[in-house]
């Protein structure tokens, strides 16, 4: 089975992200593979093992995004492709989906796996838009994936509980954390990844023009700093502490 894992590179979640002069700055924090996409790579590798398949990791981004792809290779992906083009600076979600859909069609896939969302934009809609554009069934928020010949069954995590859904390959899947803890890159994997030549595809390699940006950012804002001076409640007994705390909470009028 041919599996594609779609990943993105984002600033590390520990980064102190700020708005500076209308631009986003994350200081000297490292850029890493989107943490949600590590689950996508993990899910892809599980399916590779279950079906004796191959995993191709793809990523849209600048040259530096090759590091995120190397992480996927080190985890065990067979190959990686970077999609990079100076015309892709202002991509919105549907724009990214258009680029990914054409790359997926060029590579050919039985299963395309995404993380549930990115840490930066956080919209979580690119997987479904990619599914719509490729015409593949969308199996979103999967916590487990089982392939049986040409059919695939996933357990989806909805607000109301789990839904079990079945479709025929090829499919687009987004995964949640229950898929399993992402494996650590092995020593051999890291060595292989460090030597890997990662091909770079431009828009002309995909035979498409740059998608129009439909959702535009007009302004960037830092959320107002919150005064969070903690008031520690003390007392002679647990009952007294509880009594005082309950009164404080009731006075906040949040019940």
């Amino acid at each position: 089975m041919k599996i594609i894992a779609c990943i993105k590179q984002v600033p590390d979640s520990e980064a102190k992200v700020k708005a500076e002069g209308g631009q986003i700055s994350w200081g000297d924090a490292p850029l890493v593979i989107n943490p949600f996409d590590e689950y996508a790579v993990e899910g892809a590798l599980q399916q590779k093992e279950a079906t004796n398949g191959t995993v191709t990791a793809i990523c849209i981004g600048p040259e530096t995004a090759k590091e995120a792809l190397k992480h996927a290779l080190a985890m065990g992906a067979d190959e990686a492709i970077l999609i990079s083009d100076s015309a892709l600076n202002n991509l919105d979600t549907v724009g990214a989906a258009k680029v990914l859909a054409s790359a997926i069609q060029k590579i050919g896939a039985d299963m395309v796996i995404f993380g549930r969302q990115t840490l930066d934009n956080g919209a979580g809609i690119t997987p479904a838009q990619t599914a719509r554009l490729t015409g593949y069934p969308m199996l979103g928020l999967a916590g487990s994936i089982k392939v049986n010949e040409r059919s695939v069954t996933v357990e989806r995590a909805l607000e109301e509980g789990k839904q079990i859904v079945k479709a025929n390959l090829p499919v687009v899947i987004s995964v949640v954390q229950s898929i399993g803890e992402p494996r650590y890159p092995s020593f051999m994997g890291i060595r292989k990844a460090s030597k890997a030549e990662i091909p770079v595809w431009s828009l002309s390699d995909l035979g498409i023009s740059a998608p129009t940006e439909i959702i535009k950012r007009d302004e960037l804002m830092t959320p107002p700093a919150r005064e969070t001076v903690v008031e520690i409640i003390t007392g002679e007994s647990p009952a007294e502490i509880a009594e005082k705390l309950a009164d404080k909470i009731i006075a906040e009028k949040v019940l």
């Binding site: 956080g122 357990e155 949640v176 439909i214 959702i215 959320p223 008031e231 949040v254």
Partner: protein, 337 residues
């Protein structure tokens, strides 16, 4: 201006943020609402009472279970004939994919998880959190119609206008199902943290009650889970008295104490309740990004240096196994329960 509001529901139970979307739509002019699913007709009365001027219903046995492709095709086909300026959705697991697909069909895009939305001439300016709410951005959509999903509890719920009614129009089911729903797993209790006004959460600390003796015959891991279940029972007791939902830290979920659907934080659910009570949660950044926008945060932890206290309004440094039941009792008394 004309707005189409998508009413999201699960087997007839409407996601309350759908009502909030009706309230937002009302600010902009005429409100049409659409609801899809078998027996969806039964929901029309409430939809009028929450402010819709007209209700469109795709009530068809082919739409019995939510299924992204058929729901999206039904909605897109209808929207292209209604031709609204704006389509609003509450933000849920279903509407993220549904709005995404409708946007592809109508050659536009979606502004997701908005915390504010204002009209600007014949367009809209939206505010949404990015980078795990470390920043906010104002965005606009040049596509037509403008499509947006609204963050739950970010907008006021409209007053019910009892007895208000209007015309109900039937909409045809469209599209071909690309997947089949095999069933639902009921082993896990339903939890909707996004809509909860009060969340009482437990972390790894809930399994450390030294006063408990696990039943004989359990191995070490089973004994730990047994202890954690006793701890989460205390968390659940308080949640029940306050009418809130039960949350958990990733550490508690990873340790197998409670299902993933309860997880608050980066890889779980981002929540903004009025009250968040964190019990035995140290407060890793991945947890804090998921709950720091709660109005009032209370932390109970035995470690005075736990980072959770930096995010909290009120804190108790102490043994949660003693404090938590006492707090439940105090609220029972004060709230007359």
């Amino acid at each position: 201006m004309k707005t189409l509001v998508y009413i999201d529901h699960f087997k007839g139970a409407v996601q309350p943020s759908s009502w909030e979307a009706l309230g937002v739509a009302k600010k902009f002019g005429d409100v049409s609402a659409i609801v899809i699913g078998e027996n969806a007709n039964d929901l029309a009365k409430s939809i009028f009472e929450y402010g819709a001027d007209e209700v469109f219903v795709a009530d068809d046995s082919a739409l019995k279970d939510y299924q992204a492709e058929t729901y999206a095709s039904t909605l897109s086909t209808f929207a292209s004939t209604l031709n609204p300026n704006l389509i609003l959705f509450p933000t849920t697991a279903r509407t993220r994919e549904l709005s995404a697909m409708v946007a592809v069909d109508l050659n536009t895009n979606v502004m997701t998880d908005l915390t504010a939305l204002e009209a600007n001439g014949d367009s809209f300016v939206a505010t949404r959190p990015i980078y795990e709410s470390k920043l906010f951005e104002k965005v606009s959509c040049s596509g037509k119609p403008v499509i947006a999903t609204l963050r739950g509890r970010a907008f006021p719920k409209p007053e019910i206008q009892a007895g208000k009614s209007g015309t109900i129009t039937k909409v045809e089911a469209k599209g071909e199902a690309k997947s089949t729903v095999e069933g639902y797993s009921t082993s896990e209790s339903a939890v909707n943290l996004g809509d909860a006004g009060i969340i009482v959460s437990g972390g790894r600390g809930v399994s450390n009650n030294p006063a408990l003796t696990p039943p004989a015959g359990l191995d070490e891991k089973q004994a730990e889970i047994w202890r954690a279940q006793q701890g989460f029972a205390l968390v659940t007791d308080l949640a029940k008295v306050l009418g809130g939902a039960v949350g958990a830290s990733r550490a508690a979920v990873d340790a197998g104490y409670i299902p993933y659907s309860h997880q608050v934080g980066q890889t779980g659910k981002v929540v903004a309740p009025d009250l968040y009570i964190a019990n035995g949660i140290s407060g890793a950044i991945q947890h804090l990004v998921g709950m720091r926008n709660a109005k009032v945060i209370v932390a109970i932890n035995k470690d005075a240096d736990a980072p959770i206290f930096k995010a909290a309004r009120y804190g108790v440094v102490g043994d949660l196994f003693v404090i938590l039941p006492a707090l439940t009792e105090a609220f029972k008394k004060k709230l007359g329960k």
